[in-house]
Amino acid sequence: MDLGAQLSAEGLEVLQKKIDESCRSAQTAADVDLLRRDLLGKEGTLKVLFQKLREVPADQKPVVAQKINELKAQVEAFFAAKDGESASKGRSDALRAQYIDTSLPGVSPGIGRIHPITQVERQIAALLKPFGFSNVPGPEVETEYYCFDSLNIPPHHPARDMQDTFYVDAGDLWGADKEAPARDSRPISGVLHLLRTHTTSVQARTLELASKEAKGGVPVRVASFGRVYRNETEDASHQAMFHQFELVWLDKGLTLSHLMALITHILKGLYGKRRKVRFVPKFYPYTEPSIGPQIDCSICHGTGCGACGGSGWVTIAGAGMVHRNVLTEFGYDPNEVSGFAFGLGTSRLACQLCGLPNLKMAYENDLRVYKALP
């Protein structure tokens, strides 16, 4: 810059305007570097100004010196800001160069699912929780006593036809020279073993245990979820193995009214409050009276269609007041204690609630289907 004239306050004003103009016009890094050399270099404008300060008359020196210092501070601030901008841009450019394509699909083992039947079992368990039910699974290999005899189903009773049974080889189990361990009150050896045909066998075991341990005390509130078996030829809607749920509640003063209300509570909890529930008479040897809860057909809503066989209703479960013979069998006085039992097929229920078209699909374990389920 031309600093030929003697320094004066006015001259410095003019100089400042020129420097401001130069700073504004320095856009690129090269412009800034050139300007830096021009203003702050060894022979730069500010050095020259300080050298020329000696020539300024003494009375004007303080004012001029202050002005030069202000000018220097302004210039230095300008370059500091420019340096900051440059560094930030450099870092940013370097980070951008470290590119990873986040639009590519994520690498994950995926999220698994629990089985639809387990989902239904948990829904039921949650509905029962406030009533204080314990969950008891019970054995799947059973004796005839717990599966039939103790439940008021003697041999040759027509009810045994309803449940074609898988009998397992007891001889093979223990061998000729082995004595079977007596884990139950009834000896195991010498009795027929079978795969339980219903979870009602758990009811028998529960009542026996409660009768022994609590000496006939009540209440007894037990729910049982698990596999049951029927010896039948399989097709889309019949499986030799499927899942059931059953509850039993023994107490003083329980009535049919309580049972029906509890079932309504459960079914409305599962199917929704808008669905209709009705009850029809049924026969089960272990309950008296016996009832069959039904729900209105989800397709025709009670008017009758092909899916429900024209009745408008679908039988969901079986239930009833525990038969006095069953109570007596396990040491309860039927004149003092009453109880009820309720059971349903959770496999079929899971199919209905998940929209699986048939029972077979609940056991095909097709992961494509499980992934797509709601």
């Binding site: 699909p105 994950s108 083992p109 995926g110 999220i111 698994g112 699912r113 629990i114 089985h115 387990t118 929780k129 406030p130 009533f131 204080g132 969950n135 799947e140 290999v141 040759h156 027509p158 009810a159 309803m162 898988f166 397992v168 080889d169 093979d172 223990w174 361990p181 884990r183 795969l195 596999r227 030829t233 399989e234 030799a240 329980l254 009535t255 049919l256 009214s257 309580h258 029906m260 209300a261 509890l262 309504t264 509570h265 009705r278 009850f279 029809v280 008479p281 026969f283 040897p285 009276p289 009832i291 024209g310 007041m321 609940a362 056991y363 374990n365 097709d366 992961l367 494509r368 499980y370």
Partner: protein
């Protein structure tokens, strides 16, 4: 059971002529209508009746139900007057109490007897007669069958000319063989009720007649048998013979002893006997009647508690008059007791088989009113929520880990075929647990209860792979069965396991390179570490020798000293036998052990003092396991050793050993450790590893 609406209408005025309404009523009474054939008065209901209700198998019985629901009167079918002053027919000897009444009516039939058109129409509609408008059976047989549909009494006709001398009712001592009137030969089991004449068996009581005495369209003189047989005897016999007839179906559910003779009167009426609708000259002529019966027992009386009925229905103001009236419509007699206010319900003869106690009476009344009349009221809530069972608590801990690793819960069958059991035995030999066999499976594939879940899970992941699922990871919580498990848990034959299997890609991204088998083993192991670690106190893997797993790729998972399960690659021989196309990794965790170690888990707050780390690289023989050495270090009882982990594992080309680096972390809970004391411990460890286990530092 088929119920002809027009037949029902003969017994009671129908509550509605609209079939859908009538259907609803029948359903509500426990007579489940499976489907309806035809329309209006000619409609036929296909009913599924309850197993204890023999009286639901005929029109009069159904009419009684409607009568009690609508309090409308029954219309009893016409019949000839009671038989009086008849001479006896053939002598009848009743040698078993399993027959409580036996009546033998000898009748001369008109030549070319024709069946009444109304009977014919109903028999055809009920599927009992072959051709519309033309019976394919002798008219008397159709008539007997018709009366069974009406009144529920099964009957049989013998050709009088083929019966020799007398009728004997007795139980078979040994096995007998008969030629039945259906043209087949049957073995009759010991203990069956049979009907004999002097020379031969002429019928298996309640099941089927024999061809040696059957009537034909030319038969003119018949012996009509009407009887009451014990349901259990008939049932056992029919099952043993593998035969179910309309008669056996009815007798098994209990017949009405008081209907034995009236049914014959109805037959005679329909056959045009005295007072019949067919002209006298064309009608049947009754020749003689023999009745043999047991002394009749007093009918069962049950205390009638109006209070209990009201209580069960939650209707305290239910009218006692209405209750009693409905019971009377069902055929009960109501008798007063000795004490004032006591009442007894006397069970009708057709219900003696299933009405036994007060609850049965409650059931009768509730059904008459309809279950919709019961006023529902929820039972009280519990004050205490019981603790969840151990397995449920365990699953609650493990399930989130499994789902988060992409494992799907599956449910497989509890059994497999003898062929599969054979494969397992071939690979595992005598080390396979003993199978529980199913004796009577209809399906061949269900002959053995599973001792391992490996087969089902391996086949399942293979099947999913075929369906295009690139990576399958599944788990199942279920039971295995064997008498060998008897001592391991509370149940005699079964134990609860958590089984896992995986095959194919771990990451479900097509654009990623698939993991190597070794990587998948490590990923699988990682999941298992997570599962065992979530419930136990640390995880380690020790050598195992599971016969169904690859001998070189398997291990036992331990928490502390407890073996929680095992895992590995399915044995190649078994994979080949099962036709598996891809390597499948499998693990089986013992629920009972995991539950136990979960209960033993303890907790300590972390130390605030700094830790000191030391890395050592050891030479490990190629066939040795890094995990074993890690365990040796852990169990060396070095003072203040807080943690040991594997930091590196590599093999230099040409070297006959691996180099494994272990990181040891020392930390005290009371003070800051000095380097010299840690170094002293390290020297002691290295000396011990070299001396006792021949493990040296790699340089």
């Amino acid at each position: 059971m088929k119920l002809h609406v027009s037949l029902l209408a003969k017994c009671i005025e129908l509550p509605s002529s609209v079939i859908t309404e009538l259907r609803h009523v029948l359903d509500d009474l426990g007579l489940e209508v499976k489907d309806v054939e035809g329309e209006g008065a000619s409609a036929v209901f296909n009913l599924e009746t309850l197993a204890n209700r023999g009286d639901h198998l005929f029109a009069l019985g159904v009419a009684r139900e409607l009568s009690a629901r609508y309090l409308s009167p029954i219309k009893h079918p016409s019949m000839v007057p009671a038989f009086q002053d008849l001479k006896p027919s053939l002598p009848v000897r009743r040698l078993t109490e399993a027959c409580s009444r036996y009546a033998l009516l000898e009748v001369e039939l008109p030549k070319n007897m024709v069946i009444r058109p109304d009977v014919r129409a109903i028999m055809y509609a009920a599927g009992q007669s072959g051709v519309a408008g033309e019976s394919n059976k002798p008219a008397i047989v159709d008539t007997l069958n018709f009366v069974q549909l009406e009144l529920g009494q099964p009957m049989h006709a013998f050709d009088r000319e083929k019966i020799d001398g007398e009728i004997i009712i007795e139980l078979t001592q040994g096995k007998e063989t008969i030629e039945a009137l259906d043209g087949n030969s049957y073995q009759v089991p010991p203990g069956a009720i049979i009907i004999k004449d002097r020379k031969k068996i002429v019928a298996v009581a309640g099941v089927i007649g024999c061809s040696n005495s059957m009537v034909s369209s030319s038969t003119t003189r018949v012996l009509l048998e009407s009887a009451c047989f014990d349901p259990v005897h008939v049932r056992k016999t029919a099952r043993a013979m593998g035969l179910s007839t309309d008669a056996s179906y009815a007798f098994e559910r209990g017949s009405d002893v008081e209907m034995v003779v009236p049914a014959l009167r109805r037959v005679v009426f329909l056959a045009g006997g005295a007072g019949g609708a067919i002209k006298e000259e064309a009608g049947a002529h009754v020749i003689g009647l023999t009745i043999a019966d047991a002394p009749q027992k007093e009918r069962h009386k049950i205390p009638l508690s109006i209070k209990e009925i009201r209580n069960q229905m939650n209707l305290p103001r239910l009218s006692d008059v209405e209750i009693v009236t409905r019971l009377k419509h069902l055929g009960f007699l109501i008798e007063p007791g000795v004490a004032e206010g006591d009442q007894f319900a006397v069970v009708p003869s057709w219900r003696v088989w299933d009405i036994r106690n007060a609850e049965d009476i409650v059931e009768e009344v509730v059904r008459c009113f309809g279950l919709s009349r019961v006023k529902q009221e929820l039972p009280p809530l519990a004050y205490e929520v019981p603790e969840a069972p151990a397995l449920e608590q365990l699953v609650a801990k493990l399930e989130p880990l499994l789902l988060g690793q992409g494992f799907f819960e599956v449910m497989t069958r509890s059994y497999y075929s003898a062929e599969v059991a054979g494969y397992l035995e071939k690979v595992a030999g005598k080390r396979l647990p003993t199978h529980v066999r199913i004796n009577n499976a209809l399906e061949k594939g269900y002959s053995h209860l599973k001792v391992t879940n490996l087969v089902h899970l391996a086949e399942l992941v293979e099947e999913n792979q075929k369906h295009g699922v690139r990576g399958s990871r599944v788990f199942e919580i279920g039971r295995l069965f064997s008498p060998d498990f008897a001592e391991k848990d509370g149940y005699a034959f079964e134990r609860e396991v958590i089984s896992l299997a995986c095959a194919g890609r771990w990451s479900d991204n097509e654009w990623r390179k698939p993991e190597s088998l070794e990587q998948r083993v490590q990923l699988f192991r990682g999941v298992l570490d997570g599962l065992v670690g979530a419930v136990g106190q640390g995880v380690s893997v020790s050598e195992s020798d599971e016969p169904l797993l690859h001998p070189g790729v398997q291990g036992s998972l331990k928490s502390g000293r407890s073996i929680c399960g095992h895992f590995g690659l399915i044995h190649p021989e078994l994979a080949a036998l099962l036709g598996l196309k891809q390597p499948v990794l499998y693990a089986e965790l013992e629920a009972s052990v995991l539950g136990r170690v979960s209960g033993e888990r303890s907790f300590e707050l972390p130390s605030d003092f700094p830790s000191v780390k030391r890395d050592i690289t050891l030479k490990i023989p190629l066939r040795d396991r890094v995990g074993r050495v890690e365990r040796l270090i852990s169990e060396a009882k070095l003072q203040n050793l807080f943690e040991v982990s594997v930091a590196d594992d590599f093999r230099k080309e040409g070297e006959e050993f691996r180099r494994a680096t272990f990181r040891l972390v020392f930390q005290s809970r009371e003070r800051t450790l000095s380097h010299p004391e840690v170094d002293a411990g390290m020297e002691q460890l290295l000396a011990s590893l070299k001396e006792k286990h021949q493990l040296e530092l790699a340089v």
